[in-house]
Symmetry: C2
Subunit: 136 residues, 2 copies
């Protein structure tokens, strides 16, 4: 698995401290899970492990997706935008992507009365992230 | 159709000159077509027309997707990320989204020898965008 993405960091025209936007999509279902930023460290750690890593703006550092929840995401396919500055990463997730308990971070849709929850919860955040106080 | 998204601009906590990242997905197939930025003007024009509008960084202004190609995108569903700062917009496209002739801007994938074209062309850019000189 790790061999597969060995050349990823060198294949991207990324400036030293540059960030790339990446759409994360569940390969099996087509569900868009997250929209995150990757920097060089995230690309290198993805290439080394075969698992999604990204820059977490709240923590101000690169994290492995799933390092707190166990919901890792195995990277199956990496696509590049026409302008060469965005990625589409197709993954096999080990569990829900959203730390609020949903499969996708895009679990709300706009209805006649505003934003409404459109998806079922797939896990209990209080069990999976016991260190986070949820006020939602 | 226009009534459907009437409250969109007011439903988003967008600062005066703020931009939102938006993943554009083909509703029928799940294909991720583009990743674009919307500002208040783009949201207002989307709400008024039911068609995708976005801020074009090359042209430095808001454009209607398809205004040059005729490949408009009818907006079927709008989703919001958990942090409230990103959109997933599910559309019915009237033609390929990528001005290089592909259905999706993410038409290249990383293979053993680097980036390779993974999708078929769905239109001829020279016919659809005669005003653009393509060097690709």
């Amino acid at each position: 698995m790790t061999q597969k993405w060995l050349h990823l960091p060198a294949s991207l025209p990324l400036a030293g401290d540059g960030h790339l936007q990446a759409v994360i999509q569940e390969a099996d279902t087509g569900t868009v899970l997250m929209l995150v930023e990757l920097d060089r460290e995230a690309l290198e750690r993805l290439a080394a492990t075969g698992r999604l890593h990204y820059y977490d703006p709240k923590k101000r550092k690169v994290v492995a997706k799933g390092e707190a929840s166990g919901h890792f995401q195995e990277v199956l396919e990496i696509r590049l935008s026409c302008r060469g500055n965005q990625l589409l990463i197709r993954v096999r997730p080990a569990g829900g992507a959203c730390e609020l308990g949903y499969q996708s971070c895009f679990f709300r849709k706009l209805g006649p009365d505003g934003w409404e929850i459109a998806d079922p919860k797939v896990f209990d955040p209080a069990e999976v992230y016991p260190e986070i106080a949820f006020s939602h």
